[in-house]
Assembly symmetry: D2
Homo-oligomer: 420 residues x 4
């Protein structure tokens, strides 16, 4: 089991150097159960090889920190700047995204050597108490690496899910719960709420500026929708009734022959589910995950409800404790809600009905990090709350994740809402 201090200890007590070490260590621990072959595979253009993730986050530190702020730093291999840049136009041309899986060289061992080289230089820099500007970009690098930690797991799950042998990523330690708490409703009054990061810790540019939003009274479900509840939708012909679907969603399920969430295997009456811990019978009490926005939206409509807006979600959770079923390698899967457990953080990213747009007054970060978030603000939907594979120290109430409405390979689930 992997359970570094980063997961156990409050962030504030650790200095940047310690956090750097913990996060960098965790990334490699996530890769440890995987063979060299596993780490090299790319199962679709949206997913990347483990090895590539390990290299790309390292390239980020090398390019944005060391090349700019470390005296006399020697790039490990300048060709890596081409291979491991993801989408940053400002850093020049790069290897085609859909061909990352072809990079059998550099080898996985070579990537670890690259990591060692960069770590050594990073420690040297961090030991010298870097200037605030440098500390900030290091912090960004850490947040960035945490994002890729989640992707390492969702991407290998996708590859394993396409393998007829359904490999197991890791053993699960605990026995899953067989019942979940009953679903009831939390009431929130209308009014003007302030949305966006209040500035107390790290936040991405897309969480800013904090600004007022008018909300009408609304209600949120006390927990996530379960597999058992979703099964009732399937049994009621949910995937075959166009009136429940957005037009694009109906096209999606028709053209892709979608008739159940991703990783559900088999047929009605005998469903199984593929998880990072292997194949098991479907457990009705667990939150449903790996649904697209289209499916989440159709399910809510079938229930006579709707999805929350991202503003309702943030208003509701601003004072909730940031805790839940977050990244823990002994249980990389959502858990049934205990009585009183609200599942706002962890378990599943919650699709909102909000398109991913700039907040009023939004400005991308200046300079080298300007492409981080702003340029994706089109044709994507906001998800909130983190999942069972999000590092605990990475999530917060104002955090905005975003994916196209058809995306299903993330741990994305459903929380119902309604007008009060």
């Amino acid at each position: 089991m992997v359970h570094g201090p980063e997961m156990a200890e409050p962030r504030s007590r650790l200095n940047l150097r310690q956090r750097y070490g913990n996060i960098r260590t965790l990334s490699e621990a996530l890769a440890a159960p995987l063979s060299r072959e596993d780490q090299c595979v790319q199962s679709m253009p949206d997913a990347s090889p483990t090895k590539w993730h390990l290299a790309h986050v390292t390239w980020f530190f090398e390019t944005l920190v060391l090349m700019r702020h470390a005296a006399h730093y020697d790039a490990y291999d300048r060709r890596y700047h081409y291979l491991f840049n993801s989408y940053y136009e400002v850093f020049g041309s790069r290897h085609a995204r859909q061909q990352r899986g072809l990079l059998t060289r550099p080898s996985g061992g070579e990537i670890l050597r690259y990591r060692r080289h960069v770590d050594k230089a990073m420690y040297r820099l961090l030991d010298a108490t870097p200037a605030p500007g440098v500390a900030w970009i290091v912090e960004l690098g850490l947040q960035h690496e945490q994002q890729h930690q989640e992707l390492i797991l969702t991407d290998i799950k996708h590859a394993f899910g396409l393998n007829p042998l359904f490999p197991q990523y890791a053993k699960a330690d605990d026995a899953p719960a067989v019942e979940s708490a009953a679903l009831s409703w939390l009431h929130y009054s209308g009014g003007i709420y302030r949305i966006g990061s209040a500035g107390a810790g790290f936040a991405f540019d897309n969480e800013q500026p904090r600004h007022p939003v008018v909300l009408a009274p609304f209600r949120l479900a006390t927990r996530l929708v379960t597999c058992g509840e979703y099964l009732a939708f399937i049994r009621d012909g949910g995937y075959r009734r166009p009136e429940l679907w957005l037009s694009d969603g109906w096209n999606f399920v028709q053209s892709q022959a979608v008739h159940c969430p991703l990783y559900w295997i088999g047929q009605e009456g005998e469903w199984q589910i593929f998880t990072l811990h292997g194949v098991s019978p479907l457990r009705a009490a667990e939150p449903v995950v790996h649904v697209s926005f289209y499916e989440a939206d159709a399910y809510a409509r079938w229930r006579g409800k709707r999805l929350p807006t991202e503003f309702e979600w943030e208003a509701a959770t601003a004072n909730e404790p940031v805790e839940g079923n977050l990244l823990d390698l002994t249980r990389c899967h959502p858990r049934a809600a205990d009585e009183g457990e609200r599942q706002f953080f962890g378990d599943a990213w919650e699709w909102t009905r909000s398109a991913y747009e700039p907040y009023p007054g939004f400005k991308p970060w200046d300079g080298i990090a300007s492409e981080y978030n702003g340029k994706f603000m089109c044709s994507q939907m906001v998800l909130r709350g983190g999942s069972c594979v999000t590092p605990a120290a990475h999530i917060r109430a104002s955090y905005r994740n975003f994916f196209p409405p058809s995306a299903r390979w993330q741990f994305s689930g459903i929380r119902l809402a309604e007008d009060a």
Copy 2:
């Protein structure tokens, strides 16, 4: 020149029967300059043949009005319910959208006979002073036909634009202006604005419910961006600088080899433009049209500005007179702004930075019209204000048009905004 009473006279003075007659007449007048062959062509899946438009709006009256509310109505030809349904799942299966251009039969003349048949029954119904519920669905049918009037023109423009002979749809009567007013800024204070239809006339479900929105102070440009201004963007390498573009937009211009607005012909230094009145030299004073959301957004970024939100746009125009360069067959093209002319209505649909989402508390219409707007609320952007081919009686401040961000065949243009 076509200039029916519908265009000239205020709607309130005309009763429903008169308006029915005027609008139905205008649709056929719009088709009149086109040959039978022109009326049958479909140049891309998003565009429909003129003939199909003429039949589809008639199907709408037949299916939603006559089949339900006219005693003893005989359907003209039941096969047309399959051929001319657009996207209404509730009315059963339908002919594939991308194959509309293959329908050489029924002929254009036959479609006119179909229109006569339905008109006759509609007049009989309208003469009998229909119940309010019926009047409402007739009104919806008229609004629907007006939407298709605009599409008749944009769709044939697309087909003609792909013909190396560049046919002319109609002669232009007036000489275009050679200068436009200077661009300055209108200031709007922040606060809570009420957005959505106030209920005084017809409004679509997507304009409802009226609800409060918080706006920060903002400024809007006094007029639309001109071709001359847009040309400066092109000359400055706008289409070749990734930092100006949304990620999807950059993919769009790269993969589609887009380097100028749709219907611009030729090369820098000698641009020509294809219009419904034929090919002419590019006129710098006219508003730029036929740009995608991506191009509008990139242009605004290049200018150091941004696009307005749809709420800012509506707040700014709520008290503006609804007048401008709207549908008039002698001039189916935007006009240079005169001094003091704000161009909020007409000339060009204005891309906003707002994704097309339901208003808080949105409910689709009950029953047969439930699919009209709600099911498209995903992955589209809102445009406001109508264009030079929008019927004058059809537009209003709360009107929300919507297209995918890559759409260019509508008369879509750019108004700049900035934070105050």
Copy 3:
């Protein structure tokens, strides 16, 4: 009914001018039952609008004859050289093939004026007794127009076949036969046969040079395979048994969901068939047509037979009379074989197992006609014998038609062969 002298009278008795007139007249007669809209439609990239065919064959005379050999000839409209060139690289760039259906202009009436203009100049040239070289190129133009006569019918059939109204091209005069002759076998001894045009009349370059081929003894079926016989293949699961198919063929039927010949409608037990004379019940006695090479090959394998090679076919038919169910507008469909009728010519093009390759010593024609046949000698299969829509004066034993193995919109059928 269309029945010009070209069909009735032996070619030899007519001079070139008369034949020019007859063939040109027939093309327009073939278009006569079609509306302007019908003549403008293109249902797939491989098919062309009637109007385009009428213009293209005219362009051929204008470009290859008049522009080169007629003194003081004025091109009708130089833009047509771009619009109506099909694939001749030597004559410069041309309109994209898959966009021919977008050419609503020039109108059908305009194309007829273009034909008049060219005809007038052609008559002037032909009246002056042209030099042998000119006569030859005129002859090629006539052969070319005859090829397009067949395509006019197969292409409009394809468009009509995609129209849910299933329009009728023409009334059928005769009552179809209800029985066909029993199938038996014709025996041919092995030896060296001479293959290719013997030089007595017009022949394409691909029929030359005449050359010896060794054949083993073989047998050919006395008539074409019937719909009833083909139905037994379907009922026996022919389309679901991979062992019967070529690998490409199996991919074809799987990926395109092919389960019956093109234009068969409905389900087992109640098959209907779409013909140029409308929809009718499937008639078991008629030859099966509109099958791909893959289907012909799989059917033959299922019967324990094979398709003939093109050399076997030509050896067998070299001395057969060139007569059969060829182009006649009162019956544009194959006919059941009478007793003793061998159906070698007419009814259906017969797929051979021979790939379309150059004959030993093949040389494309010099100069302007060099692209006619040779450049297509790859990835196509040879068909022999002409069909029910091939002009009678156009076919001969040495004639080689060719289409990709997946093509189904031609009147292509099956004759069985076996080793003796």
Copy 4:
């Protein structure tokens, strides 16, 4: 260097068991220079991972030999029958071809264990002197494994060729020649030749039955076309002149932007070439390889020559010694022809102008091997003679290889022919 007895010693002196051991050993030796990651990658649907090749050939022995002929044989893992079947419908459903690269499990080590398991059982069977029927199917398995040995090298070359680091598969031992023999012509008289396997050793079903073919007198070039000669074609605008190309070929080079052979890097004047031994300057004296049939055909036309038919090739080589630059890991690349060296065998597979068709009287093998060759006899061209990565004991004059005309990742080259 790998140089097993299989390469060095005549086949006849070795018994089946010895040959089994040698061939099985060579396959693993070919994989030895590759990392686990290299062995897992699939760079396009037509190529397979090394690991998959190693498993598939083993599956072949397990399924066609051991499961049928070895008493009490226990399948290693029945799931492998799904994973490692290539295209044999008779053995049931199988893993999708284009997803072979996703199989990170079973691991490369596991595949070697699978090989050990099968080898052990095979040795037990072979030690017992198998019946002739069994010996024949073992022989087929060996021929099959040799085919995949060549593919292991061409497929990894393709993957490495897409890696910007251009990895080296193996060091080259010898210094390449700088000059090649002058090209002259070999004359062959016309007459009747017997084509196909004469039955003295193993032959595939597609080489049978032996049959007579008439050939006109012809000439073949004394050696393969060199890179230097091909460069002259490029410099003369060969890739930009449509008159040199088959219609499909012109579409191919236009749509794929092909302007040089595969693995040529850079620009005119400074060409480099990627080989299994890394990147080096282009060497003019070496045979050009990795051209498609289209390029071979266009090149020949540019020279005023043509490609040979497969019958001409076989007639010419029937009495040539089967020796040349065949598989040898110290030199996986064609070599410049020495004076007098004809290069018929080895160096490069020679595109012929012959489509891959059944010989007269062809019958696929009965039973389990029936799908081996016959079902691919459509839309492919025949290549003859083997390449620098073909095992020496695998090639013969009657051997027919076949690939689609666009294939370029094999070592395919050009020999010129002309009519005498």
